[in-house]
Symmetry: C2
Subunit: 330 residues, 2 copies
DNA sequence: CTGTTAGCGCCTTCAC
DNA sequence: GTGAAGGCGCTAACAG
């Protein structure tokens, strides 16, 4: 591996000069600069970022800890993060916490040891240890998707009101018995969406019994949840708490021979890129996933620029994708 | 930031000892070890991987350069890579080349400057510069999905024969005029899948005219391609070259009022996690996406272990997911 | 079993 | 406009 010293020797200058032309950090006579550049080219020299980071104490790297990247929502989020990070000259270190508090801590610790400048993380359902670690080591961090509490930088989409609107919509269609498939207990998003559901029932003066079943945020869980809910024959509509659970719900409905929306109307929090190819086309609340990622990076960078600034919670609005699974013909 | 020197002072030992207990790299009296560990804990010391890497010349980091991670196929691949990398004690640096030769080179250069131990990359359609760079700097690399030629480590799924089988299947159903929506020109996968299509036609004694239209590997491109192909009213079946193009094809079919498989049969290279919710359920060739990622990491690690070993091309078998869009009732 | 010392490759102050 | 030298935090001989 060729080093700056080699370049310096070949160019007939000192390492200091090489460093300065490479970083454009002090005036260099153009002939000298030329010589250095030629040597670099000839030797195929590449900057050793490690060594530089050691002295500058900055890696221009941000860590991303997000689970189950096969969820298209998280994937779009990741793309947003990537795009914005690169645009600002940052590189991404990536780890998957697998939605498990222990893994989560491991991952973040590993990334932190690599001296990333900051961390973007979608916290698990029990992020206590994680938060403690981040606090103790003063790691600049922003939480995405799920919230961990005031006093931290975090960005997420609106949850409660959009779900309440979904319920409004079903109520307008005359549905009185509306079930909900809720997410993993412990996630802030789960709590908010359930709250939205309850509020929707309330303001439409619908009874609020035990029409909620947890789908644990994933397809199989939702499959089971729907099966349980449907033992109540009076239920005519369902709200699902995220995209994966919508998948499971649709499967359960199909497998029990119920058609959507004729037998059961279905509306979902979270949209799909290909929701228009489903049968029927899905009525859903779309999160601005990519934008969430972009904002997370911006928030992190602004904190890096000013470590003393007040923690902020960014809430982004959602969009209702009005299609057919709710019973409307569009 | 607390350093080893601080720990050493607090523990009343030398930095060497601290280093050795932390790395378990030489026997240390248990009392001494205890003292060190306590100091570490008390100070909340975290290893500075940067400094270590500088001296060991190894980062235990591998770079991943894969485009459009919102493609579920690539996403699964990434998960495979992540899992296997972590299992072997490696961390991932991630960059998105956006399927563009220039970006691609930038990304790989950036990652290489971070002194990753190796690189896993899904090369663009014109990877000449990339390969040159990798060669010149002797960066251990393995190519995934698309091949770049003998002499390099690469892993991909079978392409030609599975597509030929798809054609066989359509032919058995009596289809004589079968169109193909092909991918981005320049990708090895595109060439192979087209070759498989031609071979399928050939061995079924079907005329091979210009029934191929390029969908450029993405939905909108495929939408256009299908529209063009369908101006030929004699076409009764379609083969699509990847998952994104299948999306576009289904949309085009739907928007022109054609139903699948009654009006046009459709079979696809690439499966979807939710292909069973499409209408109709999709008959498709599934790649072992996750396994491809796992194997890519293994190949890379084995090259790191023995830089002199013969370059290998790993081919993984696909699976036919036989559903209904081909015209079969299952 | 433990400590001293010399770098790893670079940036940066301080001289010139 | 340029060079010399110290040090970033750590590992790895080499001594003891």
């Amino acid at each position: 591996m060729t080093t700056m010293a080699t370049v310096a020797r070949v160019a007939g200058v000192s390492v200091a000069t090489v460093s300065h032309v490479l970083n454009d950090t002090r005036p260099v006579r153009s002939a000298t600069r030329q010589a250095v550049l030629e040597a670099v080219d000839e030797l195929g020299y590449t900057h050793n970022t490690l060594a530089r980071s050691l002295v500058t104490a900055s890696t221009r790297t941000i860590a991303v800890a997000i689970s189950t990247v096969n969820n298209p929502y998280l994937t779009d989020l990741l793309q947003g993060i990537e795009a914005e990070a690169v645009a600002s000259g940052y590189t991404l270190l990536f780890g998957d916490p697998h939605d498990d508090p222990d893994h989560e801590l491991d991952v973040v610790r590993t990334l932190h040891q690599r001296r990333v400048d900051g961390v973007i993380v979608a916290p698990s359902a029990r992020p206590t240890e994680l938060v403690r670690y981040l606090d103790r080591h003063r790691v600049p961090a922003v939480f995405v998707d799920r919230l961990v509490g005031e006093g931290y930088d975090q960005v997420t989409a609106e949850s409660a009101e959009p779900v309440a609107r979904l319920v409004d919509h079903l109520a307008e269609h005359g549905h009185r018995r509306i079930g909900m498939v809720s997410g993993l207990p412990g996630l802030s998003t789960t709590a908010e969406r359930v709250a939205g559901y309850r509020q929707g029932l309330w303001r439409n003066r619908l009874v609020d019994e035990d029409l909620i079943a947890t789908g644990y945020s994933e397809p199989d869980g939702a499959y089971g949840a729907v099966s349980r809910l449907l033992s109540d024959e009076t239920i005519t509509a369902l709200v699902t708490g995220n995209n994966f659970m919508t998948i499971g719900a649709m499967r359960a409905l199909r497998d029990t021979g119920r058609s959507i929306p004729e037998d059961i109307a279905l509306v979902s929090y979270d949209d799909f890129a290909w929701a228009d190819l489903f049968s029927p086309r899905l009525t859903a609340v779309a999160q601005p996933s990519r934008e969430l990622g972009v904002r997370a990076v911006r928030l992190l960078l602004s904190r890096l620029a000013d470590p003393e600034q007040q923690p902020r919670t960014v809430r982004l609005p959602t969009t209702l994708m009005h299609r057919e699974s709710c019973g409307c013909r569009t």
